[in-house]
Amino acid sequence: MEIKRRDFLRLFGGISGALVLHGCGLDDVFDVPASLLEKAKNGSGLESWSNTICSLCPGGCGIQVRSIDGVPVYIRGNRVYPVNQGGMCPLGLNALHALYNPDRVKAPMRRSGDVGSGKWESVSWDDALRTVSEKLSGLRKEGKPHQVGFLGYEERGLMRDHISRFMRAYGSPNYYQFSLTQNDTVAYQLLQGHAQVPAPDLLNARLIVSFGANFLEAGYSPVYYTKLYSHHQERQTKYVQIESRMSLTGANADQWIPVRPGTYGALALGIAYVVIREELYDKEFVRDHTKGFEDWIDRGGKKHAGFKSFVLGNYYPERASEISGVPSATILELARQLGNTRPSLILGDGGAIANTNGTFALMAVHSLNALLGNFEREGGIYFINEPPFQKHPDVLEDAIAKAGNHQTPFAQSEDDSFPLTNFSIESFAKNVVAGRPYPLSVLFIYGGNPLFQTINHNDLANALEKIDLIVSFDSAINETSEYAHLILPDHMFLEKWGEVSNVPSVGFAHVGVQHPVVQPLHQTRHTGDVLIEIARHMGGAVGAAFPLNSYEEEIKFRMKGVYLSGEGAVASQGVRQLWLEYLQQRGWQIGRYASFEEFWDRLLENGGWWNPIRKKRNWASVFRTSSGKFEFYSQSLKASVDRLVDNSGGRQSLHNEDLVLNKLNISARGDGVFVPHHERVPYEDDLPLYLIPFHVLPNRDGQASNLPLMQEMFGYSANRYWSSWVEIHPETASEYDIADQAWVWVETSVGRVKVQAKLSHAIMPNVIAIPFGLGHTSSGRYAKGHGVNPHWILRNIYDPISGKPALEATKAGISLVI
């Protein structure tokens, strides 16, 4: 057993004194703040506040930074910013520790040793940029610009456009975004014809049933949701949370319904059965705006069974109960409540989609929204308009770029899997290793830490080793950027210009503008500017794609469109709900500004722009399917499968279709394939327990691990600090003689980890759960070596339709550490 330093101290208290003072990093309190004291005594102590947007998570909260003599010392929520209205989450409050983090990359660096050796040498920006542009120019000269990849991390809005523009002008179709929410929206695509995440109107719904959507902890914007949630008591909203382990959202719901992992779809369909059988659904909506509910006859005169027949034939409550482990009485009760309470809202996310049958499960869940007629209705779900940004003229591609852009996107699966996505980290890794359809020469990595977050850790590591040049823009060296050859560190968000607009699922159009609240502390550069510079280096059409000199100008240029549209207003005092209602009654006054400059100044001063008034949408823009309706029978899924069948030899033989469907892990046949249905998850039945990872608020994506406060607060809900734990139901624990706080091995077919047990009644028996976020092998001094990463012992399997990692598809055994 490794002796921890403090144990050692304890044992040899005598020696400890000397150690503590001289070698262990515990600083004498009178020494450390000397710089501060200096400042406090000699500085003028002038206080200033400036507004910007937090981007430690995709939530996009408006924040106010308090600076003393220009040094940021505190962050609080921006009261007037509409997304968070002054609220904050622990992570955002801790952003200053990220700014001052000792493990930031302070200047461009080139790796001088093997991967993981930690040997880096600093290089000048000029050298680094020259290296990159020469390599890129060389590839272009060879006519291989498509061999350059760009792996982003859930960036949206302008930055995404900016990178796309760069890649397009350069000539590569390989700009991908890896994130934990990647490929979540395929089910929406299948049912409603577009992948926009709907914004649920939590405030006006009276009953909210969430299938695994842990919106208070792991949703797109937890603070926004918490704000909305906080009104549930006065508005008498009932929350029902369906999930295997009670999350923070579950703990705050009025009712928690535990469900077996991988059976959310069956449960949703069981509810649909009751709703349909008892005719509690919105008949008008189903008649007018859905397709495939009733049995139907296609153009060829062939009869097809509708959703209704499928559900009534297969998902009677007893069967749904048998699959999901939820008592049929509960299913009946919930379904009747749903049918009889209007408006009632259905959410699906988290565990519901993180499985091999996730797409079908989310389809089933989302179908309930259609049955209840929740689209574009108060208390239902909305689709939010994009802010009226000013558009750049299209990129003028030169011949090389054109050729490059026409190449097959690299990360598309070679075989039948993942037909509905152009990117899956799994096919990406496989293709790099195999060098198919062409080798990848250069990879840019921007944000994120795929190696830590994915479940195909080894494949991806192999893939990264095969790439000639990896350029990372990370501001910290993490598991993934250990593989980089060159690091061109980006600013921390408090030091840079940026824009955070339309956070998915937030109920209004908005733009938050980030501006530097402090001069960059280190020799870092904005990645947007770096891309412009690289493009300029290459010159020609690539350079011409970026007429503006900096990313700051870019934002200003795009915001001009918002100004000119005359829509919405700069965020101001009126963000409170009551005030809004008042305004809506009296007519909404749109702020007028004398000039764009005035608008811009107000924008920076107040943090952002928003447009709470949503224009009524026509149904064609709500459902962009070929039928213009909500498709219970997904024609686009049908088309994809048909395409795959054609590719594998045509539909003459039934065998081909079987082959394709089997590869997609679809056991249904005929029309049943294309309507929401339940597919069995291929669990390894020889292991006894379901293992599920879960997310906690302080460190949702594992990237906050180098913030000591977040490490300390990581397990505040379980009274654990800096460490992982495994939640076990006491009944299950007693089967294995596991006591609370006992050390156990959690073992899967992939590997095993050692964690402390936490007995809890808030988890299903036979399910065990380990929080995701710890277990770093890199990422800085505070991150490294604390806790375990559950993703690394999960089986490397995916939802074969969407390419989403099946995080809840692993079974495990558990045993006491002896």
Binding site: A40, K41, N42, G43, S44, G45, L46
Partner: protein
Amino acid sequence: MARIARAGIRFVILSVAGIVLVAVFIVVKSYSRARPSQPIEYNHKVHIENAGLNCLDCHVHAGDNVAATFPSLEVCRNCHNAEPVSKSAEELKVLKYVAEQKEIPWNQVYQVPDHVYFSHRRHVTVGKLECSVCHGDMKQQTAPVSVPYLAVTMDNCIKCHRERKITNDCLACHR
């Protein structure tokens, strides 16, 4: 008996000597603290009497901020721009700083400890205290002060607060 008495006397003398030594050490120690010397031999008297300046003209934040703040170069430049106003050699130093665009590195004389909250605004604007109450009559100062007029000690704070019937709650000044 005499012997006992002698032993007793010896004991008393030794202990008194010890105490005196310690006391002397402490006193010397506290007085030998480095006194700040200023980069410029600033003459308050000239500025107040001849130039007709008020305290707040240079210590601009004394009324609205926690720290009174030293005059920034900007403030000095208002008068000492390019041409010397006087024949003083010290003024040339100012002009040098102005020419080099370098802030004058003033040293602070009045320093409150880290755990004390002292706000000029609270004393000047709210409490309507004259500057001279704590800083003495600066009109007469021809050279920079090196020792606080009113020593920054808790006793002095409390005395004044008591006289003026201001709260002596610990939290009012200690943070």
